[in-house]
Symmetry: C2
Subunit: 346 residues, 2 copies
């Protein structure tokens, strides 16, 4: 039963005693609230620093105040994609004195919903949900309670959801068109998890680009992946053994593209000579690969920071009108795409 916590912590009451005021006054000073005489405030502030006062988060939030922590829900931590976004989140949080509480769902839908409820009922002032897999299961209850949240990299079908994501369809369209412009007509596509809107949108962009240039859509050129590197490798093996292999591949993310590149080496092919490859994301890895990966850049860092800013605003000013934000993508030309070789056209 060791009462470890209470042992040494200095509370608002200690400060009050030290400063010779009531504890409510201390609370008001701490929170910069309502009327408090400048002199009194100074006295309290002094006492606070002298004693090294540290507000107790849970007491504060329990009593109805702000906890200054926001919850972040992610499927996984292991990818650079996540790191980049988290970095953006973290930057904004840090400069606003907010803390981050992290929940990793490891792809379990049930966990996602349990976590959200717990966060919203407990400590968090707001919620950032990155790549939700099953948002409908819990978002409604958040909405009912008017609990602030922002979705990241997810185009919600619900109007009242606030979200930040890239122009995925556009980006995929540009990427595919780039390949077509290089003379490729058989373009393989590696999708992401198809239960995510971003994956769907990228496939849609691929299709529309083909259609715009009068190219047929061949379902055998679509490999359903899951955004992992190994799914990229598998995709290449698949493409190599179909009737009429593609001369270029558009991967829905850089990691899958890296998988393709890895498998390409294994099969003794040359990129971009034998095969053009384009990715999506522009994670740091893309530039480091050899050959360096041509890709559609989406501003991951910004995605995180903008979403966080949006959430913080929403927490501060709940009654304003906010709307979702769509970020532009950009074609980053590097070394993995090239004009189709005549012989390959056979």
């Amino acid at each position: 039963m060791a009462r470890r916590k209470s042992s040494s912590a200095v509370t608002i009451i200690d400060v009050a005693r030290e400063a010779g005021v009531s504890y409510s006054t201390v609370s008001r000073v701490v929170n910069n609230k309502s009327y408090v005489n400048a002199e009194t405030r100074a006295k309290v502030l002094q006492a606070m620093t002298r004693m090294g006062y540290q507000a107790n988060l849970q007491a504060r939030s329990l009593a109805g105040g702000r906890s200054n922590v926001i919850g972040l829900l992610v499927v996984d931590l292991a990818t650079q994609y996540m790191s980049e976004i988290m970095h953006g989140i973290d930057d904004v949080l840090a400069s606003n004195q907010y803390e981050l509480m992290l929940y990793t769902t490891h792809r379990r839908k049930t966990k996602e919903s349990a976590y959200v409820n717990m966060m919203a009922q407990s400590i968090a002032d707001g919620l950032l949900i990155l790549l939700p897999r099953d948002p409908d299961a819990y978002l409604e209850s958040l909405r009912d309670r008017d609990f602030p949240y922002v979705l990241i990299d997810h185009r919600s079908l619900n109007e009242s959801d606030l979200s930040v994501f890239s122009a995925n369809q556009d980006g995929a369209h540009t990427a595919t068109t780039h390949l077509i412009d290089l003379g490729h007509t058989r373009i393989g596509m590696i999708t992401g998890w198809m239960d995510m809107t971003s994956a769907k949108d990228r496939l849609a962009g691929y299709k529309s680009a083909l259609a715009d240039r009068g190219l047929p859509f061949d379902p055998s050129l679509v490999f359903e992946g899951d955004f992992t590197q190994s799914s990229g490798s598998q995709a290449l093996s698949y493409f190599l053994q179909i009737q009429n292999p593609p001369t270029a591949i558009f991967a829905s993310n850089d990691l899958a593209a890296a998988g393709v590149l890895e498998a390409v080496r294994y099969h003794g092919l040359l990129v971009p000579d034998d095969l053009s490859v384009i990715g999506f994301d522009d994670i740091p890895l893309a530039a480091t690969l050899n050959p360096a990966l041509t890709t559609m850049r989406q501003p991951l860092h910004e995605m995180g920071s903008i979403a966080t800013q949006l959430l913080l605003n929403r927490i501060d000013e709940p009654d304003e009108r906010y709307s979702s934000i769509v970020l532009p993508t950009e074609l980053i030309l590097r070394e993995t795409t090239a004009q189709i070789k005549e012989e390959a056209r056979a």
Copy 2:
């Protein structure tokens, strides 16, 4: 003043009413404590699920119970090194129903200490400190309060600190010896931040390996880096312009090694023909680089999971004796080291 939180949350009291018992009984059921009649327990459990009860973390922890969150203090999130370790942490936490609260210090020493105090006084049941920069500033107060914490990748000089780290000196010794065995006698060394024990230990290992083989230690072959990729690139530029450039480089981490490789390409050199390079860590990037990086593997994922396990044990059984854990490193041979060329010896 919107009282958002209280709006819909179902509390222990609601459950008690529903089940027709007192709220303390409900609490006992929730915590699996002391005597509670099997029948009563069942009734309460039913009521709980029926109403969708979710314990309020802060109230619980405020009242002296467990919060089931542990705090993690890191300098930065952006590297694969961090991702790997965090992954290990997260795995153990997830399987023990603990949550993670994340604090990023962005290399500011003052923040480090402020965060630690806040965590320890507020919500966390325990603390994981990854790559501390200035631990002496706050560890003592934690010790005094008997607050559970574990240091990761830091060999503490204080006996009572619990920490998990790799055999850095050993690893560096092995890496350097590998280079010597390939015939290299002028071996460049890129250090990490020299205020970290791991960086110091790796430098020590480098020196001792030279000494063991009767090779002189030349200070001009040591470049003080900071574990970043760009410091690796800078190091190469430096080495290329000194009197008698090294024929091999040992970088204190893979990221710096990647920087070397990047700069090598820029300078039109060939690895491993013109220069051997060995890294440290074996982050996923190492295998993906082209040429693939030879490196000293340290078990990052395990480092995280073992530290977490240790912390959790310590929380559960505070009175046991625990001791720090040193993890072995392993030489991973890939494509960036080779026998020295005769001509280069000139």
